[in-house]
Symmetry: C3
Subunit: 380 residues, 3 copies
């Protein structure tokens, strides 16, 4: 009864996908090490995880298998690294990206550390059309030094988001789950004042600025939500698992309820990123709020087969018109390839089991491209 | 190894089911629209969900398929609506309900809005035996005007529950999760006094009364629990997902722990309704507390295949002597039919995989009728 | 594509398993009753659950089937009990334990009530090598009488843990989830003082001492964590479901975050026990923290097929180098047998589906023995 996977995959190839959430490539040339490759397939910060445990995950084993298939070599780190490190970097990257069958990358530049391509470079070296997603917290940190109180700061942040969108950004992203938590509550203006003053002092001493804590981060999130609503661009919210900087217990999308129930945010479109293991909760939000969308990136491919299982669970309540495709890939073309292949395969499994062939075909097209085009107004 | 579905379904048909949680039909005649049909298969309040997204859910697609099968028409909204809107309403409703193979409906009249049949009418027009479940919050709202302080009010509520049961109601239902939350904590009598005074003022000004907030709703729930224990009738508790009036983050049945651990409620029987996505948690409660029961209505049929998956997960810890069958259907006979068919199919899948044929057969009979008969003392 | 179960099971038999978490047998001779057998397969305290509901669980049905297979009798309580009650107890116990193919038992003696074998007796009558896990709260309760303030008490507890490890214990176990909760927060020294004084008074009146509440239990847990780190032994933490003394809502392993993020505990190895239904959360912790390990005992075998499903879900994020094998069995050899068989079967299903045959084989060996040997330094 499940639809033939080959038929679905082939049909879906006719229209390139929109990868609505990913990150820039690392600036080449460089020689990729096994440890770096492994580190790209874990959210761990501690290097002992790639050293001792990543090879023992279902996700990484599948990644090596997919890479071996795609590159035409043994599915081993040695063979894959040897092949890629001898290749011409730009040719290799573009060849690999081409295999992901992506028509548009929506890029968040807030993550790449110091050695990623700049937006200008990335657009030049990567032959896939690209648009930018502006990261809220990065913008906000840059603006502390030039403002003297929270009100001024928040206004400057809104202005900067507006400028970014006018300059072509198609959405805003928040990592509030990393910097504070997602249990949104009304902003305490006293605490906000104190927290901002401390940030200001750091700025004056030219120390690095890091926006953290509920007072600052929730205030920022509420302002960004209001601004995104006015600008009519979606707000991407990191939900669910990520690296251990975040307390997963505080990262359920259900905590976003104030944004969903408060009439002042009516019309704001939210894209819930990752979601796992809160994907059934995220699916519920998609089912009852017209402007909520979700993806299962990161769990696909990192959680191995449980990523596909989570996709099936999410498609219980989540309409397929609300599900988005993303790789959350960064730095190495290999990661885009693996995530893309795993995501398409998970869609084949989930949609092929849940729907008749014609519906599965249509649903996949929506998830892979049409939903994102509508959400981000990419055709307009 | 799974038991033949046809064998199970056929055997289960010999004894009609007890639908332990459902709502009355809409008063006919009326012409059903596609939007109304879709709205019956989502918990969304915003009309954009049925307008734009319900057709894109696995649950609604399956619903159309089941309706097409049952009515002998194309599985499309147009064909289904055409057929039903040309039919004689009473004949149509009873014919469809008969196909659900239900022997008894336990009806909650608190939900139907203004256009549902009254209990008296419903008993007359629907040819399935019926009993009533009295909704706690509706009773309580009615009694505010006639009482002068919380103690008097709570006593009046208990008296009204007693009268309702004496008049034939077989259980009490609470929607505390909608009006407050399910994280039960000791009642703060000061807050209760303040909240009740505000309600009283509304009553005096003849404004609509709505019991909300933890002070009022938890006090009510504790009193209802004590009364149900004395009356020896079950207390149905809405848990897990529902419409967005409710904060899903606060709707886990684990929050009912005070009712389960406090000796003064010993013997109180609880029926946890819906439960999804907290069904593993609900199953745990069923596994360790002798008087806790659960169902997976609402998720079956709304969560599509994930409703059946949730049933399998719940049957991990939940004894099949604790699982109940319900449609949570309301307003349109079509909803009863779809929910009943989906629920029976989910039972076939779950029980057929978990047990040998004889046990699966017996387990299904318990879930479909025997457990509810015992819990609600329907034979006594 | 799944690997042949027979091949996997046979290969895994070559190297006996390490059961890293179990409890001692009941002192024989005794005649086992059906109610006692059932009670061993539920976490319920109320006897009505074994009386009325355990027979209706998938887990117990499977247990009877496995016991019938192993003993060569009908899979009924009567046949199983008849056979075992006529056998010579020591011969029976050792014969049954031998079938579990266990090379080492790590025993927690804190649970067996009054009628379990003492460590000395157990080592003599059971012909499987054994090591001890020392239970924190039991040690702590014993030391209240001899100390005069919290500081002295906590120091005495650390001293006792050190002595236990020097005497051969290979780890420490905490049941903080039962006695308080796992939402760890900084210890309030005032509350700790008050709580300890109350304990002291009980000790002086020679009343039974029970360490409960966050002030005492979290303080103990932090001290034990520091001591385990110094002693280089793992700290086992009961997480997830257990008997209803525990509030499951407060038993997620995510609450252990302070132990994982605070640099002063760097290097502390944690073994998360049971975890269900928080196994995806536990798997996440295993995926990002190098020193976190987990098992799914208790869910396997009690949650029936959902135990195997949970194992597959956990193996999404959890490296197979972090997963441990345990029965959590106690009192009756039958429980060890059933848990061992169910656990191996669950591993066959999960690993066989997730990995190629060679990897599945290797992964199973790691889970069954090698991971525990490394974690508990059993070869050193």
């Amino acid at each position: 009864m499940p639809t033939d996977p080959v038929v679905l995959l082939h049909a879906w190839e006719q229209e390139p996908a929109v990868d609505h959430h990913c990150h820039p490539l690392r600036r080449w040339p460089f020689q990729l090490t096994a440890l770096e490759l492994r580190a790209a397939f874990t959210e761990a910060i501690d290097r002992r995880i790639p050293q001792e445990h990543v090879l023992q995950t279902a996700g990484y084993r599948a990644a090596l298998r997919r890479l071996g298939d795609a590159l035409g070599c043994e599915p081993t780190e040695a063979a894959i690294l040897d092949l890629r490190n001898r290749a011409e970097p730009a040719e290799f990257a573009n060849r690999i990206l081409q295999r992901t069958n992506t028509g548009l990358l929506l890029l968040d530049y807030g993550f790449s550390g110091g050695d990623g391509f700049s937006p200008h470079e990335h657009a030049r070296v990567v032959r896939v059309p690209q648009r930018e997603i502006v990261r809220l917290e990065t913008v906000a940190e840059r603006l502390v030094a030039g403002t003297s109180d929270p009100r001024e700061w928040l206004a400057a942040v809104r202005g900067a988001l507006r400028s970014a969108v006018q300059a072509g950004a198609v959405g805003v992203k928040t990592i509030c789950a990393y910097r504070a938590d997602l249990r949104l509550r009304p902003v305490d203006t006293d605490q906000l004042g104190v927290a901002f003053t401390m940030l200001r002092h750091k700025a004056e001493r030219q120390e690095p600025i890091r926006v953290t804590g509920a007072a600052l981060c929730h205030a920022l999130l509420f302002e960004a939500a209001a601004e995104c609503r006015e600008l009519r661009v979606p707000l991407q919210v990191h939900c669910g698992f990520g690296d251990p900087d975040e307390d997963l217990a505080e990262a359920s999308p259900l905590g976003l309820r104030p944004l969903l129930q408060d009439k002042q945010y009516a019309g704001l479109r939210l894209a819930l990123l990752h979601c796992y293991p809160y994907h059934r909760e995220a699916a519920y939000l998609c089912a009852v709020y017209p402007d909520v969308y979700m993806d299962l990136s990161l769990a696909i491919p990192m959680a191995g087969d449980d990523g596909a299982q989570a996709l099936k669970e999410a498609l219980g309540l989540c309409p397929f018109s609300k599900l988005l495709y993303a790789t959350d890939a960064a730095r190495y073309p290999e990661v885009y390839l693996v995530a893309a292949a795993a995501h398409r395969e998970a869609l084949v499994i989930a949609l092929g089991e849940l729907f008749d062939p014609a519906t599965a075909l249509d649903a996949g097209r929506q998830v892979l491209a049409a939903n994102a085009k509508r959400l981000y107004r990419l055709d307009g």
